[in-house]
């Protein structure tokens, strides 16, 4: 864009839209559009500034409507084929109006400017002028790209870079939602890149469809580079399916093998639904673990002799059908090729080693995209990592030792882990609720947020959502957000690609963004460039102290 184009965009951005005519803090503000402004140029999700007498307000257009001063105009419409009559009536007898949700205020005095944007607590006075927010306004509210802020996209119809403060972002668990094919994966990739560049956190990604490690595909079938290709020195790819990784020519760092003896009854709780286990069957696992010790799975599956089974069942008072149900379930697990009777290496230890070195770990599932495998592995590893983190954090608090590096665990198909039936029992529910204190948070990715426990949803700090059109999903994502109804209309009208609504902890107010480009050579360069800048700054600082 050349300078003159930029100027014209800026002028257009400062455009006066109209004046405030009514409204309330609760229900939002009504703006009557000036005659020369066409309703067709307006769009929900756009930002406006309102020049109140004492302070400036920052809000978002949530509805656009048409009005007439005289009902006769609707009953016997005038002859608008005459451009003169049409022009006279526009903005006078017939007018457009906007509904604006105010979110922030910026004080007019020096103290207000220093304090920055504050949540809105009142409404602007009558006839305050409403302008389309300019690039500078948006920048003032969302901040510029810097060492903490990562550029994720641009607002609709604007060139300003919207940045997320990533150290703030990773302090809480976050969620990315959206229908299938709306760009969740691309958005997640962008955020992961941001996190590995600008936050002090490391990521552990349970990569169900092997999209985040080496390469992924876009909907058009084009291959796009993923984390390891872009940042080879910062990312390690672990795989459960070595063969698949090799076929895809992915340079893996470690092949994960899990021993039966590492699986504990607690790991089975989550699998109840996918393995069709009954409640008593999951209970029985504890008894079997007590009887058989560490090799309980292997021995339960191997137990075929009727006499022995009978003895066991009498001793443990497990019902026969329960035992059969459990045996069937365990046999399903037993068929997973990455499970071995005894693992030569400890994957948890390995993952922690990498994470401690500041490397981000992507665990590819290869061909094992079956949900059973995903739940089993994610749950099993996370439970152990969680235990380690808690121990270390408690130790750090007690002995004033170094705290573990903040960890962000990315899980897909989150409703399988966090549905209301299991959320209270699983490790992911615990992390979402309280692990922030232990430097560990979740990044949940899901297409059916209504399936996630409402308690967990309410604990998510920042929610990023692409298009959702199911009423229940929209409701669950927006639960507890102020101005929910207004956001609902914004959310339901997102484009099906490359657009997302961000709201919550890491942004001062909800914002609709067009996500930044990902997948072209230029975009890779930009991502890499940002990393270089940060590296260089760090180097410069180091040199300064030498």
């Amino acid at each position: 864009m050349n300078t003159s184009e930029k100027l014209s965009v800026n002028e257009q951005a400062r455009q006066r839209l109209g004046i405030i005519v009514a409204g309330s803090l609760e229900a939002g503000i009504d703006v009557k559009l000036d005659g020369k402004i066409s309703v067709e140029d307006m769009a929900v999700g756009r930002y406006v500034t309102i020049e109140g007498r004492k302070q400036r307000f920052f809000g978002m257009i949530t509805d656009v409507s048409l009005g007439v001063t005289d009902p006769r105009l609707t009953l016997t419409p005038p002859d608008v084929s005459d451009p003169f009559i049409a022009e006279v009536l526009t903005g006078t007898s017939t007018y457009g109006s906007l509904h604006v949700a105010p979110y922030l205020t910026i004080g007019g005095d020096a103290a207000g400017l220093v304090a920055g944007a504050m949540p809105v607590k009142t409404v602007p006075s009558h006839y305050s002028v409403v302008n389309l927010a300019s690039q500078e306004d948006v920048e003032l509210v969302f901040g510029k790209e810097d060492k903490d802020r990562f550029y994720v996209g641009t607002p609709l119809d604007m060139e300003t870079k919207i940045c997320l403060d990533l150290p703030v972002f990773v302090k809480r668990s976050n969620g990315i939602f959206g229908k299938s094919g709306t760009g969740k994966t691309f958005l997640t990739r962008i955020l992961l890149i941001g996190m590995l560049q600008k936050s002090a956190a490391v990521n552990l990604i349970f990569d169900m469809h092997s999209e985040y490690g080496w390469a992924g595909t876009s909907e058009g079938g084009r291959t796009v580079k993923s984390l390891k290709q872009l940042f080879p020195s910062k990312v390690a790819v672990f795989t459960l399916d070595e063969e698949s990784s090799k076929r895809r020519k992915v340079a893996t760092d470690f092949v994960v093998r899990i021993g039966y003896d590492e699986i504990e009854p607690e790991d089975m709780v989550l699998l109840r639904q996918t393995l069709n286990l009954t409640e008593p069957a999951t209970e029985a696992t504890y008894q079997l673990r007590r009887v058989f010790g560490k090799e309980w799975i292997q021995r339960t599956v191997d137990l075929q002799d009727a006499e022995e089974i009978k003895q066991l069942l009498t001793a443990t008072s497990i019902h026969e059908s329960t035992f059969q149900n459990l045996q069937r379930g365990l046999a399903t697990i037993g068929r997973l090729p990455f499970l071995v009777p005894h693992s030569p290496d400890n994957p948890v230890k390995r993952i922690l080693e990498y994470l401690d070195r500041g490397l981000n770990v992507v665990l590819e599932f290869g061909r094992y995209t079956d949900i059973t495998a995903y739940i089993l592995v994610a749950n099993l590893l996370t439970r152990r990592i969680y235990a380690q983190y808690r121990d270390r954090m408690e130790k750090a608090m007690g002995e004033d030792a170094a705290k573990p590096t903040p960890l962000v665990i990315t899980i897909e198909e989150a409703h399988k882990f966090l549905n209301p039936e299991v959320a209270s029992q699983t490790i992911f529910g615990t992390i979402a609720r309280e692990m922030r204190k232990y430097n560990c948070t979740l990044l949940v990715i899901d297409q059916r947020p209504s399936g996630i426990d409402s308690e967990v949803m309410s604990q998510l700090g920042t929610k990023i959502t692409c298009l959702l059109d199911n009423e229940r999903d929209i409701d669950s994502v927006l639960a507890g957000v102020s101005g929910k109804n207004e956001l609902k209309s914004v959310l339901a009208r997102l484009e099906s690609k490359q657009q997302a609504l961000i709201f919550g902890h890491a942004v001062p107010m909800p914002i609709v963004i067009r996500t930044r480009e990902y997948g072209s050579a230029k975009s890779y360069k930009e991502f890499a460039g940002e990393a270089d800048v940060k590296g260089k700054t760090e180097k410069d600082i180091e040199e300064l102290w030498q």
Partner: protein, 192 residues
Amino acid sequence: MDRIGEVIEASTTSFTAQCYELYQSPALGSLVKTKEGAVELYGIVNNASTTSLEPGRKPIARGKDEATEEDIYKANPQLNKLLRSEFSALVVGHREGDNLYHYLPPSPARIHAFVYACAPEEVKEFSRSLNFLNILVSSQLPVPVEELVSATLRQMAPAQPDPRAFLVAAGKELAVLLTDFNQLKAILGRLK
């Protein structure tokens, strides 16, 4: 300045003037002015009439043997003295010194004050503000308001640098002033 007549009747809201020449009254809706001391009064012509000089003496038909209407006047030169043309103007504003006000002056015009037609420059200056429309639409006149307003705007438009923009602006002002949409529609229809 084009002197066209003399005030023969005056009130706060309007004045009536007799034309110096028969049938030479200014067009309906045109801007005229007269003076009251240092104050210049602006009026908009809302009605014109030609009647017999004496109320009791009605004109009679005279053209039976004449070929054209003109011939009647040629044959009866006294007619120009026995008939008179009058027009009345609604006061819509005044000027005191350099300041132009679009509301009623403190006192009405004086009898025998001269009345002038306003030049396009003056019309342009006066119509910079459309506040006078309020007086027009709220007046009680023998001429329908729609007719007067549209005639006024039609008269003023050619003096503007952009006649169409002027009419649109006036239309918008009227859309706000008029509560009756049909009235607005009638005016807009007469502006074409």
